[in-house]
């Protein structure tokens, strides 16, 4: 039996009231902070599905994303390194389509089935750029999801699948384009979405000999918050009882990770034996038949999506959102220049930067970051072992509220942070409400963008208030 052994998700803490875009828009969408992108959200979702036992067994990482910060350069290697997967993995980027989440899932399944990986990890993430005030901007939200696929202790088995490829200019973003484009809405909804997702679902039901009533939960990609109910109904599902809530009014359409996030949300009330239909969309559709096993009750993170959606902060206004997305350039003149990140230098020191390893001195036990060759406490040379700090809790030792440095992060909480169990770093506190900042407060770590020069985004680990209490 092959299927899901672990599940994770990420929804950024920030919400934009869509009424801020245009008065008649309703609902909220999840919006990545100024220091987030598809890679950082992927890291957050990936970390949520991992522990050290799982890490050791993972042999492949499939990263699905339609909005990678890089047009050339793999993201899966960076994500895999940041979440501290072993170096000896098959890392793959699956790009360019919102269908990529299920494509990655199927590829992961095949890897495990073929025996090339004991466990395979799937991460999907998107922060798609939409033109300000467009329908797409109203619809798109940001987020990420992750799965670990294996053949032991399976909580949700993958029973069967059916894929349809459909060539059509439904959504696209050209090489030099800033925003996702589409042909008129009616065209891609009716001829694209309705037709091909319908075709995939019908094909799967026929292939498996199942009827719509046999499905406990239909988890279906929702392009606009409306069409999915009509599609479900036309397939013979009861939208009220069988269709997974598309969370569209809470977070928007998050693209590639969307149906995997919905699957994560569906886990909360799935019972052993329940059959689940998972259907994605993007230049065609994948439909998967899943079934909860007796291990479903042991699955972690069953309520993660609900908790992530409940944990939210409001973006104060539309201009802030536009600045975060770079639609409005408010960079001040004559401030200190952004430094150039030396690729060679970064490559040498990346163990401290990316998987966020500090070190513990094997002579005296002192823990410090970034890694040093000579121990700060006992001066022993080259006597240390790595300590992962990314999953450690921390406390704010002291801080200042900087009003002048950053064009987005105002005030920037420049912080001295002490890790539980030892170690210290200077970083900033992100995703914060300035009123909650005080010395002694509890923090957790989060992978974020630092700056971008010449197309190279530098990332770093920042602190944030504990998100899920």
């Amino acid at each position: 039996m092959i299927g899901i052994t672990s599940i994770g998700a990420y929804v950024p803490v920030w919400r934009l009231d869509k009424g801020a875009i245009a008065r008649h828009f309703r609902g909220e969408k999840a919006v990545a902070n100024f220091d987030e992108d598809a890679i950082t959200m992927a890291v957050a979702a990936g970390m949520s599905a991992l522990d050290d036992a799982i890490r050791r067994e993972i042999g492949a990482l499939y990263f699905a994303c339609a909005s990678s910060p890089y047009r050339e350069k793999m993201a899966a290697t960076l994500i895999g390194y940041a979440i501290d997967l072993p170096r000896e993995i098959r890392a793959v980027d699956m790009a360019h389509s919102t269908r990529g989440g299920t494509s990655a899932m199927l590829a992961a399944m095949d890897s495990v089935k073929a025996g090339s990986a004991k466990k395979a990890m799937v991460i999907a993430s998107d922060m798609r750029r939409a033109k300000p005030s467009s329908n797409h901007e109203q619809n798109f939200g940001d987020g990420a999801a992750s799965l670990v696929i294996g053949d032991t202790d399976v909580a949700v088995s993958i029973e069967d699948s059916y894929s349809v490829s459909n060539e059509m200019m439904d959504m696209w973003k050209g090489e030099s384009e800033d925003y996702v484009r589409s042909w008129e809405t009616r065209f891609y909804i009716s001829m694209g979405y309705m037709n091909t997702v319908g075709e995939a679902i019908r094909g799967l039901l026929k292939k498996t000999g199942l009827k719509p009533q046999d499905i406990a939960k239909a988890v279906i990609y929702s392009p606009d918050g409306r069409s999915v109910a009509g599609l479900a109904q036309s397939m013979g599902f009861n939208p009220k009882t069988q269709l997974q809530n598309d969370l569209f009014m809470q977070m928007g359409n998050t693209g590639t990770p969307y149906c995997l996030q919905l699957l994560a949300a569906a886990m909360e009330d799935v019972k052993p034996g329940d059959k689940i239909l998972l259907a994605s969309y993007g230049n065609g559709a994948d439909a998967l038949l899943l079934q909860a096993t007796g291990n479903i009750n042991k699955l972690k993170n069953k309520d993660l999506m609900r908790r992530l959606l409940e944990s939210k902060k409001q973006i104060p206004d539309y201009v802030t959102y536009l600045r975060w997305r770079g639609h409005v350039d408010t960079a001040p003149q004559h401030v200190r220049p952004t430094p150039i990140a030396s690729a060679a230098d970064l490559w040498r020191v990346q163990e401290g930067v990316t998987p966020f390893h500090g070190q513990k001195c094997t002579e005296c036990g002192h823990i410090e970051w970034p890694p040093q060759r000579v121990c700060t406490k006992c001066q022993a040379l080259d006597k240390s072992e790595p300590v992962r700090l990314s999953d450690k809790r921390a406390k704010l030792f002291t801080h200042s509220k900087d009003m002048i440095t950053d064009q987005f992060d105002i005030p920037m909480i420049y912080s001295v942070v002490n890790f539980e169990g030892g170690g210290r770093m200077i970083t900033t506190v992100t995703d914060k409400d300035v009123k909650e900042i005080h010395n002694g407060m509890d923090l957790e770590m989060t992978y974020r963008k630092k700056f971008c020069t010449e197309g190279h985004t530098m990332y770093m680990w920042k602190a944030m208030p504990i998100r899920l209490k």
Binding site: G352, S400, M403, I404, V416
Partner: protein, 393 residues
Amino acid sequence: MSGIKDKVAIIGMGCTHFGELFDKGQEDLVIEACYEAFKDAGVAPNDIDAAWLGTVDGGNLGSRLTRILKLQYIPVTRVENLCATGTDAFRNACYAVASGASEMALVCGVEKLKDTGYEGGLGGTLHSKYQARYEILTGPPTMFAVRATKYFETYGLTPEKGKEILAKIAVKNHYNGARSPKAQFQKEITVEQVIKAPIIAAPLGIFDCCGVTDGGAAAIITTPEKAKAMGKDYILVKGLGMANNAAQPVLDDKYDFIHFIENQVASKRAYEQAGITNPREEIDLAVVHDCFTITEMIIMEDLGFSKKGEAWKDYEDGFFSLNGGLPVNTDGGLKCFGHPLGATGLRMIYEIYNQLSGRCGERQLKDPKIGLTHNLAGNPDCYCIAITILGKP
């Protein structure tokens, strides 16, 4: 170990006006500071047998100095130790004179921060690749403000009370700066003005921070025997202390951020050489590195001028004011002079030299005999502290 005490004499000094000197280049500042020093010492440029040039952002090579002054093939060392550069250049020259390697040495510190084109903070050239990968990209106010937050928390000062104490430090230094003709800012300010000023990095507001400034300063040193033979008035070097840390504030999670251990170590070394056992009583004045008001407050405790956690009370009592028990930053400090990195340490020595020589006009103290300068360099992770103690013969 025999120290530096009484082995080196300062016989002449010079200092430019400090400020936004858009109309003066490095060449002008070097000439202005050095020629004042030549005149004060009564020596000619060709009497100098070795020189030290302190500059952080002013270009490489000691020859910058010889090129400007047209010194004839003497050895010149360019010194860089960030904000403590000026004092360290002086220190190196002192050892050369004490060892007999040089009989008449010139020390010059200069910085043209206003040529960098950045508004506020220090120029981008202070960043290294190191900062690109690990450090948060920000300016010094932010890095020092974390100490204020911690100081207030540790010693039970409310944020309001803490701000008020810091404001008193700024007010004191501006009072002195208003009596200092070469200072960048020569205006008195009030506590209310300081508290209401725009915040740079809370809890520090704009009046808690020193300016971004151009300036140059110079000293001519020789042996006391030579000074006497020349018939010159001179001031003696009594102690030189320096300490560079190993990034303990960041790498050691026990480092408390309310003291600079580096200050304590460097001052202890200087006190031992100078024979000072009770600095609060024995030192007549000090010019210290008040890059930010909180820095000055912490320095008072580290140097032994105040008890731990009690400097704020000494400020309330006016102990460090011009007419107090131990006047600190009698010329207005970095608060009023700004901080042209390579020049600052020598500007501090210039003030002590003039106070001990009785040349300070309205801000002149009554017959001071021993003074201290304290120069601090670094971000939270790396510090260099350089201290000099100067005395009358």
